[in-house]
């Protein structure tokens, strides 16, 4: 049952982080419950994708990146590498900024001052920690995000209205912004690095075919955990921010979604939740980028090995974390980076998911465990939809500001 921590850390780190909290808070503040369907859709798709990446690792003993390089060759791998790593790097900047914002709320010291110490702590944990420590530590700390659920319940939401919002509908005004936020929510939910992290975690934890049932449970439970918490953020935002006309343009505005439900300590609880959630995400993304390079180029890699035993792998995360601190030191707004990177994630989804779907249907890797038509159809439809939405909404948002 300890394997469930992989699901929770994947969920907290890759799902419930600054991207999903910001986009869910913006959605609730601007459109009430109306965008709940986007979170539900993202969650369903993520359950399928995470289950598939765990199954691929358990059956073939290949991570997603391993199999992709082998099956599609170096030129294709390189294109995917550039697209995924650039977007994942932007998300890492946003996550480190999220921790900085949380600390800014708690201490009053501006987030740029926190960029270097935060990056150092993230790096130090990767340098000295094992995969188990990162997995279990981030999962345990991430449980503080249950406070979002507590806040949503205390605001007594209308469950019938929330249920109705699970069916997509168009707003009367602000259609471009609505589309852009929908795309961002899906991008925040379905981050490709999350699949790379999860399949690498399955190899680190030495999964085999006997783990297929537990993988299914972990994917379902872990991602539903993140999805429910994102829904809670949206509901709390819809009830606390929308009636007061507060739009989430800055991080402290997002924190207000907790203060109506928990007036005394909601603001601080939000900060602590964001610190832990973003910390888990920063670890996960840094690991995922290092895994991506190491697996793609065939280097030694394992978080359980000492850095001198897999020098190139350790070098990649060291450099990536150092570089990610620079924009924050220069005062780049993490909320802006978050919003752009979430939409770009949606736009780059086909790059990651289409080859993955081919792999999941390849009998060489999966034999009788390859995908059925339901998994293929669900993922293909959602990816196509998010891509179309991204292509339409991103230019509209840029033109319309």
């Amino acid at each position: 049952m300890l394997q469930i921590t992989l699901g929770i850390v994947t969920s907290v780190g890759g799902f419930l982080e600054i991207g999903s909290v910001t986009t869910a808070a913006q959605a609730g503040a601007r459109f009430g419950y109306q965008l709940l369907w986007a979170i539900a859709l993202g969650t369903i798709c993520l359950i399928f994708l995470v289950e598939m990446s765990g199954r691929l690792a358990a059956v073939s003993k290949h991570t997603v990146v391993d199999a992709m390089r082998e099956r599609f060759g170096f030129p294709f791998f390189f294109i995917v590498c550039v697209g995924i790593v650039v977007v994942a790097f932007m998300v890492l900047v946003a996550e480190l900024g999220g921790i900085g914002f949380g600390l800014q709320i708690l201490t009053g010291i501006g987030f740029p001052w926190w960029a270097v110490p935060i990056s150092f702590v993230v790096w130090l944990l990767m340098w000295k920690g094992t995969f188990g420590l990162i997995e279990n530590g981030a999962s345990l700390l991430g449980l503080v995000t249950l406070s979002f659920l507590f806040a949503a319940f205390r605001l007594h939401p209308s469950w019938s209205s929330a249920g109705a919002a699970l069916i997509p509908s168009m707003p009367q005004s602000g259609k471009a912004q609505y589309g852009f936020i929908a795309v961002s929510i899906i991008g925040a939910s379905i981050s490709p690095y999350l699949m790379y992290f999860y399949s690498s975690g399955a190899i680190e934890d030495k999964w085999d075919r006997t783990y297929i049932p537990i993988n299914r449970f972990i994917a379902g439970f872990g991602m539903t955990f993140g999805g429910v918490l994102s829904i809670a953020v949206l509901i709390a935002s819809a009830l606390a921010l929308q009636p007061n006309g507060i739009l989430v343009d800055t991080f402290p505005q997002a924190a207000l979604l907790m203060t109506t439900a928990l007036p005394k300590w909601g603001f601080y609880l939000f900060a602590v939740s964001m610190i832990f959630a973003c910390f888990g995400a920063a670890l996960e993304i840094s690991l995922a980028i290092a895994y991506f390079f190491a697996q793609g180029f065939g280097w030694n890699w394992s978080e359980d090995l000492e850095p001198s035993k897999n020098a190139r792998y350790a070098f990649v995360y060291t450099i990536i974390i150092m570089l990610a601190a620079i924009p924050l030191v220069l005062g780049v707004d993490p909320i802006k980076v978050t919003v752009i990177s979430m939409a770009l994630t949606s736009a780059t989804l086909p790059l990651a998911i289409v080859p993955f779907l081919f792999l999941m249907n390849d009998p060489i890797y999966l034999g009788k465990y390859r995908n059925g038509w339901i998994s293929n159809t669900v993922v293909a439809i959602i990816i196509l939809m998010s891509f179309v939405l991204a292509v339409i909404s991103i230019p509209l948002q840029i033109i319309g500001g």
Binding site: F74, F78, P307, S308, A311, R312
Partner: protein, 124 residues
């Protein structure tokens, strides 16, 4: 066995199960009087980049000549050293002796082992 499907881009392991990189290219001997045969496996260097575009291969060779272990060429492993081809390709060689780990060793010595807690202290 399909060379592209079963060999190209597969991960290479030495006799101690140390990762040596991936198969970047294959060298074949072609003559009029005999069947073509694979003579060497190529690892790293400009080979993978040349598969995207020859000019990238030239840039890679130039960059590798400026930094690191200054070895801009691909490592060549005789095909006769291939032991098994399965999930990975197992070679009857010691990775360090082939040059496939030159970059790994260079980065370890010049960067990683200079940072406290890298694990190199215990070995000493």
């Amino acid at each position: 066995m399909g060379l592209v499907r079963d060999v190209l881009d597969k991960k290479l392991m030495d006799r101690e199960d140390c990762c040596m990189g991936r198969v970047s290219g294959l060298v074949m001997h072609v003559s009029e009087h005999a069947q073509p045969r694979v003579t060497h496996i190529l690892i790293g260097g400009p080979t993978p980049w040349m598969r995207i575009h020859p000019s990238l291969g030239r840039v890679s060779r130039w960059l590798a000549g400026m930094w690191g272990p200054k070895n801009g060429e691909a490592v060549r492993i005789p095909w006769s050293r291939v032991e098994t081809i399965g999930r990975d390709i197992k070679l009857d060689v010691e990775a360090k002796e082939t040059g496939a780990l030159d970059w790994e060793i260079w980065i370890a010595r010049h960067v990683i082992e200079r940072i406290p807690g890298s694990g190199s202290e215990e070995e000493e």
